[in-house]
Symmetry: C2
Subunit: 456 residues, 2 copies
């Protein structure tokens, strides 16, 4: 039996665990699921004979070391900043490791020793980062092999609610960590390059600088820029590409309304609100508006944010009940972001029968001896239920597939890496199709921006 | 001879040094001026027989310790974060110390030892903080002594250009550290309280949430909120006051135009612009606008910031030459804030004959057995020239006056402190009048906000 240790039995591990358990007999696998909550871990084993659950507090070095020592490969599904202690033990005890998170500086620093020991540390092999890397590299390498020169790469991903479960005015529900949704876009200006011109968008303008995306068969969406698109130039080997843009997908109209929260300051997580526990939703809203006691909170809100009487956006805020004087925040020493998250969770939490949906869309512009071309590639996948969500599938399945391939000696290149090598992405993308992760590619006219040849 | 060591011979030390040198014979003082540049220090001695200049690198502990050891009292005019090493040596060698900066946590931590040794560490005794504390405490204590209960305290200060030197469309020039002006308001939401209601303004809305101030004899100004007005409640002994607001004064119209830079993201100091050295002012402006090469930067700017064709604000940007394709930024790896500072310094640097002006304005609301009352107190002072600026006078003179009084045993209370005790503020405010720092007080009707008795 080969022993796979999975640390962290959260929401996104269900498809990962199911995949490995389904293969466990044929592949001779034993799956150990370690979680801070033993009960949680037990539930995830589904009483499968090839699985066992253990209590694992990642801050307890004895528990951590014992679990890692007795495994052949380790999957860390912990929050990103907690991978590093696991990684150090994996180096120490010479175990391969797989995560769905961005490679941290601390992780990267272990690379030399990892290569020396012949270990594979595969990271960024979930959805985004993960499937985005793999599906992009496949097309980019195909273009290069045919002698094309890349001119443009734009890539968008969104975790949304499936149309059949889409029943609020925001066309959005929390299908992933709500806190990350509230804080999305913070921490610095967004940076990208368009036809050789660098562009910078501050956080407080990000949600007004969206662009529309028509995705075959799924309708129109909008995208806003991710923080740093520029670093992907070197990762993808596109150092000189004139256009590089990565973004997040939302249903049309979401960002313009979300911008109101940004403008008010409700997404700020850097300070706590005085007496937050006892304030009503209305008090919370009012604390960001001018003091003017003879005017209603509603009118001050409309006037400050310039929301016309006939603007459909208004109903979105009414739906969230942010003017309710009776609902209490009931959170002690809470930041604006924490209070906003609570208010949104009242309305945006998935109902038991709700399904989620992942949308990914790439644009590839390139030039060859026949002129300029553009390829668009899209993937849309819906969840089955609240356990096997689209998010759990797209994050967990590539992790599981990579883990098994490392174990079976099919992925062999040692070092701290992400899935941009053909030996990794080609077989995994192919297998993902069996699980409904299918990209539809089409050729479209090369559009670009430079309509008149004038720089602007 | 009593030896006064002044560390840091910058722009704001001229009036400080002149005051002490003028008193040096009569008061038996020797003034040692220490600066990183010996030449700078020498120039400030003005060849006065009671002054000497030394080279003093505050990071060189031997230079620092020798200078402090041979003094009786130390004035640190260094940037605020550099006071602490000086302060530690002052404790070690049992010397009093004076600064014009906010009390840092590190400084506060030395308090116990300082009290034990009977030393006076006077801080926040410049303009703002400094004269604002003293002039406010004088009125607040007068109101309390007469049995009044404080209802409202609002306080505004601004460093401006004098009307006779005010010849640009912004009605503003740099009379103080330009970097601090560019970064003003950053670092977190502004917090204050109005009639018991806490209010929070995010940075990106700060410059649209101004209020107008009519100051007797000097016209109308505007004020925007400082970062944290709330902490002054406990400092001034006004813990239960329902209205507490501190702000910065600008000429009318400045903030609405400045807001455009904030909206664009030009005041961001957290990242560097690609190839900043070779870009033009126009390129810099364009990097914050959407890529749309067939449109002019001017039109994109107007459209994005919603600046109507007849909006006088437009000319302010033209005046700064931010659309110039020929002027180069010529700064390597510069942040947006650094580039904006350079652009502004082209236009806002004081000419040799220009004079500056300080405006301070307080509002005190209180209640006694006769009802509600309001006192307004204003101070306006202009600089004499580019050496004895209003800023140098208002920052340096209170520092000098406090230093001499500590040396003469007139200020005796030991410990890390700010000038809120009567033994400190009363004589200093009186002496400041001889130098033109005069507050005009008047009683006005109590206005408040709560016109209809409705909370908003």
């Amino acid at each position: 039996m080969r022993n796979i240790l999975i640390i962290g039995a959260g929401r996104s591990s269900s498809s990962l665990i199911k995949y490995l358990l389904d293969k466990s007999t044929e592949e001779n696998l034993h799956i150990t699921i370690g979680d801070l909550s033993l009960e949680n871990a037990k539930r995830k084993t589904n009483d499968h004979p090839n699985a066992s659950a253990i209590k694992l507090n990642v801050f307890n070095s004895e528990e951590r070391e014992n679990a890692i020592k007795s495994s052949d490969i380790v999957i860390s599904m912990l929050p990103a900043h907690l991978h590093i202690e696991v990684a150090k033990n994996c180096v120490q005890f010479e175990k391969h490791m797989v995560t769905a998170s961005y490679i941290s500086k601390e992780m990267k620093a272990l690379d030399e020793e990892i290569v020396k020991k012949g270990l594979v540390f595969m990271n960024e092999i979930g959805l985004d980062p993960g499937i985005d890397h793999m599906s992009a590299m496949e097309v980019i390498n195909k273009i290069r092999e045919k002698g094309g020169k890349m001119l443009l790469f734009e890539s968008f991903t969104g975790g949304l609610v499936a149309p059949e479960s889409d029943n609020n005015l925001w066309n959005y529900k929390f299908t992933w960590n709500p806190r990350n949704v509230v804080l999305a876009g913070q921490g610095g200006a967004s940076k990208f390059i368009q036809e050789g011109t660098y562009k910078y968008i501050p956080y407080h303008k990000l949600f007004r600088r969206t662009e529309f995306l028509k995705i075959n068969g799924s309708g129109t969406f909008e995208g806003y820029a991710n923080r740093d698109s520029l670093k992907y130039r070197s990762i993808y080997g596109l150092d000189d590409i004139p256009t590089m843009y990565r973004g997040t997908i939302r249903k049309v109209g979401f960002s313009r309304a979300w911008n109101v929260f940004v403008q008010l300051g409700m997404t700020d997580d850097s300070y706590t609100i005085e007496d937050s526990e006892n304030m009503s939703y209305r008090d919370f809203t009012n604390s960001f508006l001018a003091y003017s006691p003879s005017d209603s909170v509603e009118l001050k809100f409309r006037s400050y944010l310039k929301i016309d009487q006939d603007d459909v956006m208004w109903e979105k805020f009414v739906e969230l009940d942010i003017f309710n004087p009776n609902k209490k925040v009931a959170l002690q020493n809470a930041t604006p972001a924490q209070i906003l998250q609570k208010i949104l969770m009242d309305s945006w939490t998935l109902a038991p029968e709700d399904k989620d949906m992942i949308v990914m869309h790439h644009k590839f512009g390139y030039e060859d001896e026949n002129g300029k071309h553009q390829i668009e590639s899209s993937m849309v996948i819906k969840g089955e239920d609240q356990t096997y969500t689209a998010m759990a599938k797209t994050v967990g399945l590539p992790v599981a597939m990579a883990t098994l391939r490392i174990l079976n000696g099919e992925i062999t290149k040692p070092g701290v890496q992400l899935p941009i090598n053909q030996e990794v992405y080609e077989p995994i993308l192919e297998e993902l199709q069996d699980f409904g992760v299918t990209f539809i590619e089409k050729e479209v006219p090369y559009l670009g921006y430079n309509l008149e040849g004038i720089r602007g």
